[in-house]
């Protein structure tokens, strides 16, 4: 594939700027065009390692407890740090007294604002005297043990002169509201307006107009492993090594270097294993700087792991959104206008992930206008959380589409099918892979959506089963609204569906190096991260495929800013589509050079040789050399290959699309919702490892189910205090909440996206789950369930207000 120069004016330049989409925002990058890139693996490519359901390469470490996470790193004479946090939401610190803490047993050091350089995190200053939320770090202590540090943090005396606070969007924009930021309580870009066509004209052309108001809750990532860092300085304190649980080693390196006034190469960030991120671990945090600063002051290694309370009150969240949506359509269902106004409650910081961006993408419509307003309030900052913005917007849009279907008496699935956009409407270009329609149809078939072909050969036993469907009740499902009664009236069954789109095409820059060892095995080096997604395994498969080696002969080394070449953050579902092509390119180079060496030994031409299963064979199959034979004869000659990710084509849009279908049971007396089953079909291009793709699909669906039914961070409006800052009261799904899941990806490849044909899959599956479930609850009850999560109280309220 020839990489296209992103700008005509770039002509034949090698170093060009290009635009990469990251979590819905566009970033401009400089990229060095690869001299040549491999031909794409097409539909008919005969691949032997890529596409196989290989168990993850680090599973043995994980099931034995030998995988080391940040809290497991032990350095000689290491100290432990604990963070002192504000307990009220707003005010000014008049005094911090650490003398008591310093006198406590085992305590070595304590730091406050006076002891550190000015460090900015999420637009706020670390240890700022101005308190802006409960949980804000105001000081830190370190001690010989973690327990001693925690105990000492408790006895640091912090005096705060309390000020008035704002906890909600409405409070923030009220006249005379206390200011969260000096610049005001709405972000500088607010209102942020995006418009295409003319919505007034679109609404005047509509036969039917529906309006709705939707709300998604503030949600907490709640990764199993809290944030953490271990810091150690070398020599006389001029080189820092950081072990950090992060989605981006290079980003953390750059932020720490900037914050501490160091040259970037003086900071080494290492990430080996981490216990999930979901967007909350994209940057250096307070804990990172605290560990680094205390380590420098004490001359000893310092570990700073955030405790669960700190994790839930101070490491980011999906912000609450309220969206007013108006849809206009012709009688046949064709959308004529989409108008959306959103209000996002950010907390004290974060970035503006538009909840209405999806309104411009998911369905075809000439006239779209969206207005976003972002407000600052006295609570922890927003941070990326698995498909930020799109999850919130999809709930509003897909609930709106069901309301529209009902108003038009059109089947909700047919309404969506008749509005599949078929192209990237914002940029006026086709998609590299346009398969939303296929996902909808295949999902409907698997689900047995009424009016669609009965699910061919789909037996209950084929479902990825938990509980059986057959519970003795008569099961009726009808599409398009109306109450579905089952088993005598109290328990109501319903079905619903929703679709998804998400930019997951990846992009440059990303690098990989592969070195062939003298025993014929290969090491892949790349500065990307495996958050638990399976990056290590998938990159090993791509490397083995391109090298022509056995899978088990490849070792993947990731996440070390000193020893692995650059790769960006693992966010925006872009890791494999970004790094995978670089790994393949490096592997092809190693194979080419290995074959050249083998050709000299076999006295033939390199073109007469092929490599498979770590064996090089002549085309006629008569002579063979193993990789180890060749490297053995080469002594200490080191064959290495380098690969880089070229720019994306500008003439196609890169998105991952999908559709999900839900069946629920609602207890009409208690409001309790039970999800019976979910069918999911997504198109993410080539699936490198179906076993790991399955994990991503199921995991995304269950996080979506949590958002639909349970998850909501609650802050007391009067006091500004978080009321559920632990895993007891902040409810994430458990094993018993899991329905039957039939999740699959279309068996396709996307050679226009990049030369491995893969796009991303981490975020897409969470997007349609909550709206599909809510649509099913609406279908079961006939009630407008437009606020998440669908707790029994909300469901009962919706039923009562509908039938009052």
């Amino acid at each position: 594939m020839t990489a296209e120069a992103p700008r005509e004016s770039d002509g034949h330049r090698r170093f060009v700027t290009t635009v990469v989409e990251v979590e819905g925002r566009e970033e401009t990058k400089v990229v060095e065009l690869p001299v040549s890139e491999p031909e794409p693996w097409g539909e008919d490519a005969r691949l032997t390692v890529v596409g196989r359901p290989i168990p993850r390469v680090d599973a043995a470490e994980k099931v034995t407890g030998r995988a080391r996470y940040t809290a497991d790193i032990v350095r000689p004479r290491m100290l432990h740090a604990a963070i002192v946090r504000a307990t009220i939401p707003a005010g000014t610190i008049s005094e911090i007294d650490v003398t008591g803490a310093m006198a406590a047993p085992g305590v070595v050091d304590a730091i406050t604002l006076e002891d550190i350089p000015r460090i900015r995190i999420d637009g706020n200053t670390l240890f700022d005297r101005t308190v802006k939320y409960v949980g804000q770090p105001v000081a830190a202590v370190c001690a010989e043990t973690w327990q001693a540090a925690l105990a000492a943090a408790e006895i640091v005396r912090v005096t705060i002169e309390r000020a008035a606070h704002v906890a909600t969007f409405a409070d923030a924009i009220a006249a005379d509201a206390p200011l969260v930021r000096r610049s005001g309580n709405v972000s500088r870009s607010s209102p942020s307006i995006m418009e295409r066509g003319n919505v007034e004209r679109g609404l005047s052309e509509a036969d039917v107009i529906v309006r709705g108001a939707y709300r998604t809750p503030p949600a907490l990532h709640t990764a199993m492993e809290p944030h953490g860092a271990v810091a150690e300085w070398e020599g006389v304190g001029d080189r820092l090594t950081l072990w950090e649980s992060t989605q981006g080693v290079f980003r953390v390196r750059d932020e720490v270097a900037t914050g501490l006034g160091l040259s970037r190469s003086r900071v080494r960030v290492i990430k080996e294993h981490m216990g999930g991120g979901f967007g909350a671990k994209n940057s250096a945090g307070a804990h990172t700087f605290i560990a680094a600063i205390l380590a420098r002051r004490t001359g000893r290694a310092v570990r700073c792991v955030v405790d669960r309370y700190g994790e839930q009150v101070d490491t980011g969240h999906r912000p609450e959104s309220r969206i007013h949506l108006t849809l206009g359509a012709r009688r046949d269902g064709t959308l004529t206008a989409i108008v959306a106004d959103s209000q996002v409650t950010m907390g004290v910081g974060g970035w503006e992930a538009s909840p209405t961006a999806i309104m411009h993408e998911l369905y075809g419509c000439e006239n779209v206008k969206t207005t976003d307003v972002y407000a600052w309030v006295h609570s922890q900052a927003m941070d990326s959380f698995r498909a930020p913005g799109h999850v919130e917007g999809a709930f509003a849009l897909e609930r709106g589409m069901d309301t529209l279907a009902r108003a038009l008496s059109i089947d909700p699935l047919r309404l969506r099918l008749s509005n599949v956009p078929g192209r990237d409407q914002e940029k006026g270009r086709p998609y590299s892979s346009d398969r939303l329609r296929e996902c909808l149809v295949e999902g409907a078939r698997r689900f047995g959506w009424p009016g669609w072909e009965a699910p061919a050969g789909l037996q209950d036993s084929e479902m990825r089963a938990g509980d059986a469907v057959g519970d003795g009740m008569v099961r009726e499902v009808v599409a398009g609204g109306g109450i579905v009664e089952a088993g005598g009236g109290r328990r109501l069954r319903g079905i619903g569906m929703a679709a998804q789109v998400w930019g997951a095409g990846g992009g440059p820059p990303a690098y990989a190096t592969i070195k062939l060892n003298s025993d014929g095995t290969a090491d892949v080096l790349s500065g990307t991260q495996d958050l638990g997604t399976g990056t290590r395994t998938v990159l090993a498969q791509i490397a083995a495929e391109s090298l022509g080696s056995r899978f088990e002969d490849v070792r993947v080394v990731l996440g070390d800013t000193e020893r692995t070449p650059y790769a960006g953050n693992s966010w925006g579902s872009m890791t494999i589509a970004s790094v995978g092509p670089a790994v393949r390119m490096a592997g092809e180079e190693v194979r080419r050079r290995l074959c050249e060496a083998a050709a000299e030994m076999l006295e033939c031409r390199p073109g007469d040789l092929s490599a498979r299963g770590s064996v090089i064979s002549t085309r006629d199959g008569t002579r063979h050399l193993t990789f180890a034979d060749v490297t053995g004869k080469l002594g200490n000659v080191m064959i290495m290959g380098h690969g880089s990710r070229g720019p994306n084509r500008r003439d196609v849009g890169l998105v991952t699309a999908g559709a999900q279908f839900a069946e629920v049971e609602v207890d009409a007396e208690t409001g309790q919702v039970r999800v019976i089953r979910i069918v999911a079909v997504h198109d993410a291009g080539r699936i490198i490892n179906p076993l790991l793709a399955q994990s991503q699909l199921e995991g995304g669906i269950i996080q979506g189910l949590g958002l639909a039914l349970f998850e909501e961070r609650i802050i007391d409006r009067a006091t500004g205090v978080p009321l559920n800052p632990g895993m007891h009261d902040y409810k994430v799904p458990t094993s018993k909440d899991v329905p039957m899941i039939d999740a699959t990806c279309l068996p396709v490849t996307d050679p226009q996206a990049n030369h491995i044909g893969a796009r991303g899959l981490a975020e897409p599956p969470i997007i349609p789950t909550a709206p599909a479930i809510a649509n099913a609850v609406a279908n079961a009850t006939g009630a407008a369930v437009d606020e998440l999560p669908l707790t029994p109280r909300r469901v009962l309220h919706a039923i009562r207000s509908t039938y009052a």
């Binding site: 043995a60 990764a223 294993h273 216990g275 638990g532 199921e698 669906i701 895993m727 458990t734």
Partner: protein
Amino acid sequence: MRIPVRFELNGHAVEVEVAPDRTLLDLLRDTMGETGTKEGCREGECGACTVVVDGRAVNSCLFPAPEIDGTRVLTIEGLSCDHGRLSRVQQAFLDASGTQCGFCTPGMVMTAVAFLAENPAPMDTEIREALTGNLCRCTGYVQIVEAIQLAARRSRDPQA
């Protein structure tokens, strides 16, 4: 004040002194240096710290260290000391992709070990019930349940 305790850890006799405010999790991770048992919440909610005490799966973060005296403790480190060979439950978690980020995995595995000892031929619903104290944020639990079911099948038929 330090309290002497004697117990059996993964088949080996251990004699240590512990402070009365320490938990079994602290004892394992800090005193013994066995970091396979994970700390996810320190409040008995997530189950990442699950170990087996006298055959019962417990949250080691809630278990007072002095109470360990006279017990037999099995942790993730005690499952696979046989020349690096994985135990049946561990192998099943590996084969069925019952692990993603892996942070909850040691706790999941220990819960499964205690559970299967009591109920060697469980229904899926029983496995789901047994796992309710072990949270996982990456997987959909589906492959974890399959892993435990696979381990159960293999205990009846090693070829499964």
